[in-house]
């Protein structure tokens, strides 16, 4: 031990001298250390000092060489391990600072074998699963031959960690590393034999991750962004597109997943090739993929055993992925705010509703089809579940249904509709055989697709498209429950109220399609009560110019409606009109409905002129008409004229009870007044002073009221019609609803 101590002293002396010299004459310091090393080759401190000099001078090559020596000669020194862990941390980090770059460069100078060993040992010493995995990944990426030994194990470790750490979402750090980093290495390594079942399992894990990643919400369940996040609420109509996205536990750089759908397609291609799927070529696109499995599906009934199950598997996997991708593309266009990173330029949200552009058109034509449809629908609803495809057919609303879109408002309309159709086709394919459906349901259960709001939105729209309105309604009801403002969250943005409206409008549309007008009106009046009327009437609606009208429509088309204040109110008015139209204009007398119709026909005037004339005809036939709200809500000069005219002898002396004190008007008809009023109305506002000359006679009390009301109305012509109609909806809500059975 005496000699041991004196050796120790020698070494300390040598290192001390080197340290003294290093700043003023680094060469001399190194000369001392070289000498020292030859004297005491097994002394760690000497070599460490040499390393430190080179490292501090950031001389990559020589520092690397010395690190190598230390790694070989002093594998048990904690200091060496601290150094190695600093270096491996630099390898894993995104940091661009000079020191991190130097450390990475240092690592690069080491011979591959040593890098490999270093990473392996560093991995062994690491107790954090994530760090350990990242380290092992560095190894696998650098040394493909190590994939055979460690690849699958690493993958399984990550999947286990995901399970044991109870990750709430598939978009978590473990899955990310597994799917994006480990899996490509594993499946592309042809030296490995991978059982088909394992590859399918991995494939599903990958798909779940990528879908989850793409459809992640703008915030909330996943941890994201900086503290300024709350700012997005201030401008709710333009959902902020955050580029920064960090998966908990990973760095920003590692969190980034580029082109998720393409990556997923790559994986499918490789897995497909390895599982000997039908169709030898690599999958070029999702559309190709769907086409291929569609073809394959035709052979399915003839297949047996392994071939059949392999075939099933291929069809289900491919069709399901096409389904989810297309559904996502559709929903991201229709409801962009649901997703993070989806550009909100496309505006929206959009609502799939019954197309009402023919609401003003000829009644007779429609009557038949609607009634007919209604009956059949009732029939269909009775045996709903089992015969869903029959359902469609019986409704005559199968594949031929059109969805109208305003092309100028939705620039990507054709892709959006294409996605919707592709998604539906995939869905149909997946439900074309029991075997496929069973497999597909397994996937859905595993992924808990029930809880995917965006997917439910698609499904609902699909069901609506299929005409299964009852089903759609129950789905919408559930969604509305999910989306209703939570307690404590009630002050939430206009955005969420729009979302809420979206569900209500769709419900209204469904009720309407089912012929349940009362409920339809209930829903839409709920919506309207939450709206603020636009300040000015929209310029003559540009809707028609953009809408595809190429094919003859059969009155049961759908439309994508822009879910904004501006667009929703007109739609609600049209929908109400549609609800009352039949009832008001059919053979039985219902003045209240007829009155509502007249009020509603003011909107979009003169589109509804023909219907108005029909209404007038009916009033003429009845010989009288009672609608006490008339003067509250009718300000259309043409209509006022017409009604004024109706009271004239020429007009047929129709008894009009349009004022709240109705009885008087009925008991004291005064045909004379009509002329005067008529004159008055024809003269317009500028002749206001003439009212003195036209108001005389004792029995003219009632006439006077009517006349005054008419005059007042004429002066109201300039009022904002939408405000008037909005008020109508708000004030008469109860009457409106009550007037429907």
């Amino acid at each position: 031990t005496v000699s041991m101590m004196s050796a120790q002293k020698d070494c300390e002396f040598l290192v001390k001298r080197a340290r003294e010299l290093v700043s003023e004459d680094p060469c001399a310091a190194k000369a001392w250390l070289i000498t020292a090393r030859t004297l005491y080759p097994s002394d760690f401190n000497i070599q460490y000092e040499m390393y430190i000099i080179e490292r501090n001078a950031q001389r990559t090559a020589s520092a690397g060489r010395l690190l190598y020596d230390m790694f070989i000669n002093f594998p048990d020194q904690p200091v060496v391990w601290r150094e190695i862990s600093v270096i491996t941390a630099a390898l894993r980090s995104d940091s661009e600072d000079k020191h991190a770059q130097f450390l990475r460069g240092l690592f690069e100078t080491l011979p591959g074998r040593v890098q490999c060993e270093m990473l392996l040992k560093a991995t062994e010493q690491c107790f954090n699963t994530l760090e350990k995995a990242e380290m092992l990944l560095l190894l696998l990426k650098r040394f493909p031959e190590s994939v055979v030994q460690h690849g699958v194990n690493l993958g399984e470790t990550l999947l286990e960690a995901e399970a044991t750490e109870n990750m709430e979402t598939p978009v978590n750090c473990f899955r990310k590393l597994f799917v994006c980093d480990v899996l490509p290495l594993v499946i592309n390594n042809m030296d490995m034999r991978l059982p088909t079942s394992l590859m399918q399992k991995y494939m599903l894990k990958a798909a779940e991750f990528y879908i989850g990643y793409v459809t992640r919400g703008p915030s909330g369940d996943l941890q994201i962004q900086g503290p300024s996040d709350g700012g997005s609420l201030k401008s709710p109509s333009v959902p902020r597109v955050s580029q920064r996205y960090v998966i908990d536990g990973l760095s920003e750089k590692t969190s980034a997943v580029t082109e998720p759908w393409e990556r997923l397609l790559d994986i499918i291609s490789v897995v497909g090739a390895r599982c000997e799927w039908q169709g030898d070529k690599a999958q070029r696109s999702y559309v190709d993929m769907l086409q291929r499995v569609k073809d394959l599906c035709r052979y399915l009934p003839g297949l047996e055993g392994d071939t059949r199950s392999r075939c099933c598997c291929q069809i289900v996997l491919c069709a399901a992925l096409v389904l989810f991708r297309s559904a996502f593309l559709y929903v991201s266009a229709v409801q962009p705010a649901l997703f993070q990173g989806v550009s909100a330029i496309s505006s929206g949200p959009w609502i799939l509703v019954e197309d009402l552009s023919s609401v003003y058109s000829d009644l007779e034509l429609e009557k038949g089809t609607l009634k007919h449809a209604h009956k059949k629908r009732k029939l269909a609803d009775g045996r709903e579940k089992t015969m869903s495809s029959d359902d469609e057919e019986s409704l005559g609303k199968g594949r031929g249904r059109h969805i109208l879109v305003n092309k100028t408002e939705m620039p990507g309309w054709s892709e959006t509709l294409e996605s919707f159709n592709t998604a539906r086709e995939s869905w149909d394919l997946l439900h074309s055989h029991d075997a496929l459906e069973t497999e597909f349901k397994k996937i859905c259960a595993a992924w808990k697709t029930d809880s995917w709001l965006w997917f439910r939105i698609f499904l609902t729209d699909m069901i609506i498209y299929q005409g299964q309105y009852r089903k759609a309604l129950s789905s919408l009801m559930q969604m509305a429950a999910v989306m209703a403002p939570q307690p404590g969250q009630h002050s939430l943005s206009a955005q969420s109220s729009l979302e809420h409206n979206r569900a209500l409008i769709q419900q209204a549309s469904c009720y309407y399609a089912l012929g349940e007008y009362k409920r339809a009106c209930e829903k839409l009046l709920d919506v309207v009560s939450g709206l603020t009327p636009p300040n000015q009437e929209p310029a003559k609606s540009p809707e028609d110019q953009g809408i595809a009208k190429t094919k003859t429509r059969r009155g049961s088309d759908l439309r994508l409606l822009l879910c904004t204040n501006k667009a929703v109110l007109p739609f609600c008015l049209q929908l109400m009109l549609a609800c009352f139209k039949l009832r008001a204009l059919n053979d039985s007398r219902d003045d209240l409905s007829l009155g509502h119709v007249v009020v509603l026909l003011q909107h979009d005037w003169p589109h509804g002129e023909m219907l108005f004339l029909k209404a007038v005809d009916k009033i003429c036939q009845q010989g009288s008409f009672q609608y006490e709200n008339f003067f509250n809500y009718v300000t259309n000069i043409d209509m006022l004229e017409e009604f004024a005219y109706l009271r004239t002898p020429e007009g047929g002396r129709i008894q009009l009870e349009l004022l709240p004190n109705q009885g008087m008007l009925i008991k004291n008809p005064s045909p004379a007044l009509g002329v005067e009023l008529n004159t008055l109305l024809l003269q317009g506002v500028q002749t206001m002073d003439r009212h003195h000359t036209v108001t005389r006679g004792i029995t003219k009390g009632v006439k006077e009221d009517f006349r005054l009301a008419m005059e007042r109305q004429v002066s109201r012509c300039g009022e904002n019609l939408l405000s008037v109609l909005h008020r109508f909806c708000l004030n008469e809500k109860i009457i409106i609803i009550q007037s429907l059975p």
Partner: protein, 476 residues
């Protein structure tokens, strides 16, 4: 042959020389064709060369002819292109030997003169084949002449025109072999025994940068020389290591801060200090030593060949102790400064000895070192090196692990008894000796080093094997 002489005689000097070169070329080609081993240019031809190229007076009663300066320049140009155009190495080499190998006669002076001019020209215009031939010449010729050739280049390039050093700088890439030999010769030329014998700073700077850029440069000759050891004993060392070690150790005492740096030629960067340059050079030398175990092992020479000679080390230590004495005597005021310089010199000596020994460049025992260093003043590191590292194994009875197999072929250089610095070159053709570096037989080892047994106990038994492991890097 007589016909040739007759045909040359009437010609003017230049065309005769030119004609002779042409003849020589044909003659050597035929010689090689004949397959005679070894191919040797006959004495008649050599005489013609002396007569018509070097114009040495002969006994034949003809008046000695001289060339004008212009003719000489033309001749040099002809020679340059002659070597440049000759594509066969052996022909070129034989021709160069026929022209410039020293014959120990009167013609040698003009031979040296023309050679100096030719090589200088080759450096200037980058004639690689000539530099390669000159490198071989530098290996075979007595060191005194080698030093003279180096002197010519230093005079031509490091003195006259400022900035001309950069031309010389290029020989590193043009002919590393020549460059290596040149360094060796320069370290002989300037032995730092006095201030006059210190290299010009720009030369020093150039050499340092060469070696820093490529440490293996100093080993080029060694790496390219076959083991047969046909080096004449009086030729230059096979590496400049000994000379460089001498420079670095003596430098602190020779270059004194209080004195003006020698020979700066007023060039602009005279600010450059010698101190850091020598420090860097010393480190490079140690690094080169560290390269050696691998190289020696590859050549199967580890422990069998000494690159540093004990004699020259002994001469160095005695020089050093003389310089230290002088320094003590001459300095009165700055004794602290002197002490620092002295200690630096001793530190470097200790480092060079230790690293050279550990790397197998120096084969000797610590006892040998103690002997040659006995007269030197105290220095901690030197003390440590001379006594060797302390062995710190708990079990003293465990036989050392790695030392014994090496001990089996431990050294042993029987050093030739020739004086290392002959004052005059011998005039006879130099004999080729079998290896100045002696390859020893195994049997003699233990007898010659009785101290080795005690060393075993004292030394860390792992030292040598660990060094090998430590430098394993270089082979990866």
């Amino acid at each position: 042959m007589g016909d040739i002489r007759q045909s040359l005689l009437p010609r003017d000097v230049l065309s005769a020389a030119k004609e002779l070169l042409y003849h020589l070329d044909i003659y050597i080609c035929n010689l090689l064709q004949s397959g005679r081993q070894p191919p040797q240019v006959d004495s008649k031809t050599l005489e013609l060369v002396e007569e018509f190229i070097f114009h040495s007076p002969n006994d034949r009663n003809t008046p000695a002819r001289r060339m004008s300066a212009l003719q000489e320049l033309q001749l040099l140009e002809i020679m340059c292109s002659c070597f440049q155009e000759q594509s066969r190495d052996t022909v070129r080499q034989l021709m160069f030997s026929a022209l410039f190998n020293l014959q120990g006669n009167q013609a040698d002076e003009s031979r040296m003169s023309l050679l100096g001019k030719l090589v200088s020209m080759a450096v200037a215009v980058g004639r690689v084949p000539i530099l390669e031939c000159a490198a071989t010449w530098l290996q075979r010729t007595h060191r005194v002449y080698c030093v003279r050739l180096a002197q010519v280049l230093v005079d031509d390039y490091c003195g006259m025109v400022p900035g001309s050093v950069s031309t010389l700088q290029n020989i590193h890439s043009a002919s590393p072999r020549f460059c290596c030999q040149f360094i060796t010769a320069v370290t002989m030329l300037y032995d730092l025994s006095s201030e006059d014998l210190t290299p010009p700073l720009e030369l020093l700077q150039m050499i340092v940068s060469w070696i820093q850029d490529d440490p293996r440069l100093v080993l080029i000759t060694f790496l390219n020389t076959p083991l047969s050891g046909s080096q004449p004993i009086t030729s230059l060392d096979v590496t400049p290591l000994g000379g460089l070690v001498r420079w670095c150790i003596k430098a602190p005492l020779t270059y004194r801060r209080d004195k003006k740096p020698p020979l700066t030629n007023g060039s602009s960067d005279s600010v450059v200090e010698a101190g850091p340059l020598f420090s860097a050079l010393h480190l490079s030398v140690l690094q080169v030593f560290m390269l050696l175990p691998t190289i020696l092992n590859e050549k199967g020479l580890y422990g069998r060949l000494t690159l540093l000679q004990m004699e020259s080390l002994a001469a160095l230590t005695s020089d050093l102790s003389r310089l230290l004495d002088q320094a003590d005597k001459h300095t009165h005021k700055s004794s602290a400064d002197t002490h620092t310089s002295s200690q630096l010199a001793l530190d470097r000596l200790a480092q060079a000895l230790q690293v050279a020994m550990a790397s197998g460049a120096l084969l000797c025992s610590r006892e040998d070192l103690r002997a040659i260093c006995s007269r030197l003043p105290h220095n901690n590191l030197l003390q440590l090196v001379l006594s060797g590292p302390v062995m710190y194994y708990n079990n003293i009875h465990t036989p050392p692990l790695a030392f014994s197999p090496h001990a089996a072929h431990l050294p042993i250089t029987t050093h030739p008894a020739h004086p290392t610095h002959p004052t005059h070159p011998t005039h006879s053709a130099l004999p080729t000796h079998p290896a100045q570096t002696t390859i020893t037989s195994h049997s003699s080892s233990h007898n010659q080093y009785p101290g080795a047994v005690s060393e075993k106990v004292q030394r860390s038994p792992r030292s040598e094997s660990s060094i090998v492991a430590g430098t394993f890097w270089h082979s990866t």
